[in-house]
Amino acid sequence: MSTDHRRDGPTPPAGREMTRRGFFRKGVAAAAGVSAVAAALSPLRHLAPGDIPSVEEFLRKHYKEMTPEEKNAVLARIAAAVEKRFGVRPSLLDPPPLDGVEFVYALNISRCIGCRKCVHACVAENNQSRSPEIQYIRVLKMEKGSIDVETSDHHYAPPVVPDQDSYYMPVQCHQCAKPPCVKVCPVEATWQEPDGVTVIDYDWCIGCRYCEAACPYWARRFNFAEPEIPAGELNPVMGLLSNRPRAKGVMEKCTYCLHRTRRGLMPACVEVCPTGSRKFGNVLDPDSEVSYILQHKRVFVLKQDVGTLPRFFYYFDERGSRYHEPIAPVRSEEPT
């Protein structure tokens, strides 16, 4: 085939031959190439003004490498960007980890009624995207007598909760002591803080979602689209590593409400829990609630076999302390 076209016309002079067919072929190739490039570049037309980073953003250092002055400059720049976008002047801070503090969470699954108030308090506190929806907490409805998360349901919508045949197990970031999400990050955009909280530098994240795949608890969320937060619902109290508004294409996760807990406050999910199932505190303090729970209650962790050493513990009460529940009569198995 490569030599057939020579028969179509007169033989051109050697070196500068350009047959009609060859011209068309090159024209076709050039037009196809141009159109392909144009089609490939067409998403650039949809760029928003904030999509292209500024020089300062582009040359920003990693969070851990920033000097205090550089960090203040970053805080001021982000605060100005938030004010420009939402019309609210945020109090954007970066509270450092406290000395002698390791945060631990405990959740009483025999008291949780599955009302999902923690889910929505978390969304409101941490400025998560409302559309597409991002929620850090999933409340799994589990069958009583099993702990099989594969058959659990987090879309339950009965008129009232709790369902008498179920118990509820909320799952969120477990702040593992050996976090697989940190291990897989190719750019070190996520790390474990000294107080045990795994955080993300949202400006350093490249959005590869390896950490989402590595997490055994599905605790990490990806911003598939520009987060949509109603301006009136923006929480103006922000932390650089926790709840400042995220950008499209970065991961985010529960940070135990760093901007609150590093000032001594409870996380938003603890504050709102109507049953008091959620417990939070400093495990290094022997008098804290979580220390008592770890020492005296029956405690387990989810997916202990994966070896991530979570800082999130589930516990439950003795049966005799649930007076309102009928205790089934014990069958006499002994032959008389």
Binding site: M1, H5, D8, R20, R21, F24, G27, A30, A31, A32, V34, S35, A38, R111, I113, C115, R116, K117, V119, H120, A121, V123, A124, S131, P132, E133, Q135, E150, T151, H155, Y156, A157, P158, P159, V160, V161, F224, A225, T261, R263, G264, L265, M266, V270, E271, V272, P274, T275, G276, K279, S288, E289, Y292, H296, D317, E318, G320, S321, Y323, H324
Partner: protein, 247 residues
């Protein structure tokens, strides 16, 4: 290749040439069409639904007064305002003429004076007949609910609001009756807040929209398919059950 048919060389060349002239034109039109973007990206994310205000309200389920008071006809009375004049009715026959709105479903605890003081109605009573002030109701509950009282004292039962760090600010330990009605103690059921509707989960309705292929991870009859999902929970009329003080 077809243009090189040996029987009609000239016509084949001409048709190829005329056809070839249109190829760049067609491609240019295609490029322009792509540039104009006829296939707009449609966001599969569900539009944002407003968060119900009661779902993020951290106030306790109940707001008891922790005082021996009763609101009647717009006035507030001390319990002793009446009870110092009137003797208590015999309790073996519990036919109340007053306090008929109080529903007592507290297990085997069916006697008013198990908790209320027999002579001083402005106080509660302990196991030895001594008075317990109304703002210390946990001491009354502890008479029977020992393990729960132990857990409440140590913080593993009951709500804690405020600061986890006691040196940084105030920490509120919620008392028993801020969650439990002392006359009907089980924690009241409440409507759940709206469930998740995230991108990755997709449509979770029991009706399958994907060619009738059931989700292998969700066997029918269990989990997500066990109940209808797209019916939203009925909105609570006045937020979570926030009962009036009945003591």
């Amino acid at each position: 290749m077809t243009a090189n048919h040996p029987s009609h060389p000239d016509s084949a060349v001409a048709s190829a040439a005329s056809r070839g002239r249109f190829v760049p034109l067609v491609l240019l039109i295609a490029a322009a069409a792509l540039w104009a973007g006829p296939w707009e990206f449609t966001n599969p994310a569900a539009p944002s639904a407003p968060t119900p205000a009661w779902a993020i309200d951290p106030t306790p389920v109940r707001r008891p007064k922790l005082r021996p008071e009763i609101d009647l006809a717009g006035f507030t009375y001390h319990c002793s305002d009446c009870h110092r004049h009137f003797a208590s009715p015999p309790e073996t026959v519990r036919s109340l003429t007053q306090h008929r709105h109080i529903e007592l479903r507290h297990g085997i605890n069916t006697r008013c004076f198990n908790c209320h003081h027999l002579t001083n109605r402005d106080a509660l009573v302990d196991d030895w007949g001594r008075e317990i002030p109304f703002d210390q109701p946990q001491l009354v509950c502890a008479k029977c609910h020992g393990p729960v009282y132990r857990d409440w004292l140590n913080g593993s039962h009951g709500r804690t609001n405020g600061y986890w760090d006691a040196s940084a600010g105030r920490r509120d330990r919620r008392k028993c009756i801020e969650c439990h009605d002392p006359h009907v103690p089980p924690f009241p059921p409440m409507p759940p807040a709206p469930g998740p509707n995230t991108l990755r989960m997709g449509d979770q309705s029991p009706v399958d929209h994907h060619g009738g292929t059931p989700n292998p991870l969700r066997p029918p009859g269990r989990g997500a398919h066990a109940e209808p999902h797209l019916t939203p929970p009925p909105p609570p009329p006045a937020g979570p059950p926030n009962m009036e003080d009945r003591q």
